[in-house]
Symmetry: C2
C-alpha cells in the first residue's frame, strides 16, 4: 500500500464517520470504528464503540449546521476542525477539533476538543441534569 | 513550488512558531506571523501579531511539559494536537488543538481550541482577576 492510498483510506473512513454522525446514522458511524476503540471529550470518556454516540439525537436536535474548516489526513491519523452551529435558543458556536487515530482503515481513537464552558453555563442555568442528558458528546 | 515543498515550508514555519512559543521566545514566534494575522482562543481574540503572546511568561511558569500528539501539514494550513501539562498546584492537563492557516510561508491565522472550564474553575476560586492575568492564551 502506498502512502497515497493509505491516506485515501483514512480520508474515506473519517469522512464516512463524520458525515454519518451529523446525520444521526449511528450504524454507519459505528461501522467505521475498530477494535480497542477509545473516545475522549470534555464530557465523555468511553471505550465502547457507540457509547459516545448515546444522546446523539439530543445533540442533533439543537444543531443547525456543521461548517467544516479543515481536514488533514495522514496514513494512520486525521484531524478535522469545524464549527458546530446551534439553534438561537442555545446560541453556541462550538469551535471543534477532532483527532482520529486509525488501524487497518478503522478508527481506534477519537479525541474531541472544544470549550465546554458555554455548555457548563447553560447546564448550570438549567439546574441539575442526569449525565445522559448532556447534549454534547 | 511543488506540493511537497509547500508542505515542507508549512511544517518549518509552524514548528518554528510552536517551539519558540513554548520556550518563551516571542521574537522568533512573531517572526513566523504574516500580514493580516488573526488569533482566536477561548480567552483571547486578537489581530495583533504578538497580542496573544502577552502573558506568555505567566503561562510558561506553570507549564511542566508539552506532549505533541499529532502534527499534520497541508500546503497552506496545519493542525497540531498536544497536551499541555501543568504544575501539580494547577493540576490541569490541557488537551489542545491548534489550527494554522498560512500564506507565503507565514502564519495568517491561528485558532486554538481547548476546554477552558478547568481554568474558569481555578479563576473563580481565585476571585476576580484582570484580563491580562489570564495565564492561558
Amino acid at each position: 500500500m502506498t502512502t497515497d492510498s493509505a491516506q485515501a483510506v483514512t480520508r474515506r473512513t473519517v469522512r464516512a464517520y463524520h458525515e454519518a454522525r451529523f446525520r444521526g446514522d449511528v450504524t454507519t458511524a459505528a461501522a467505521q470504528i475498530g477494535e480497542g476503540f477509545r473516545f475522549r471529550s470534555p464530557f465523555i470518556a468511553s471505550d465502547n464503540p457507540t457509547g459516545h454516540l448515546d444522546g446523539l439525537d439530543g445533540l442533533l436536535g439543537i444543531v443547525t449546521g456543521v461548517e467544516l474548516i479543515s481536514e488533514l489526513y495522514g496514513e494512520t491519523e486525521a484531524t478535522l476542525v469545524y464549527n458546530v452551529h446551534t439553534a438561537p435558543t442555545v446560541g453556541i458556536t462550538q469551535h471543534t477539533a477532532e483527532h482520529f487515530q486509525l488501524r487497518n482503515g478503522r478508527i481506534t481513537s477519537i479525541t474531541l476538543v472544544f470549550d465546554s464552558a458555554p455548555w457548563q453555563a447553560i447546564m448550570a442555568a438549567a439546574g441539575p441534569v442526569h449525565e445522559e442528558a448532556v447534549p454534547m458528546a
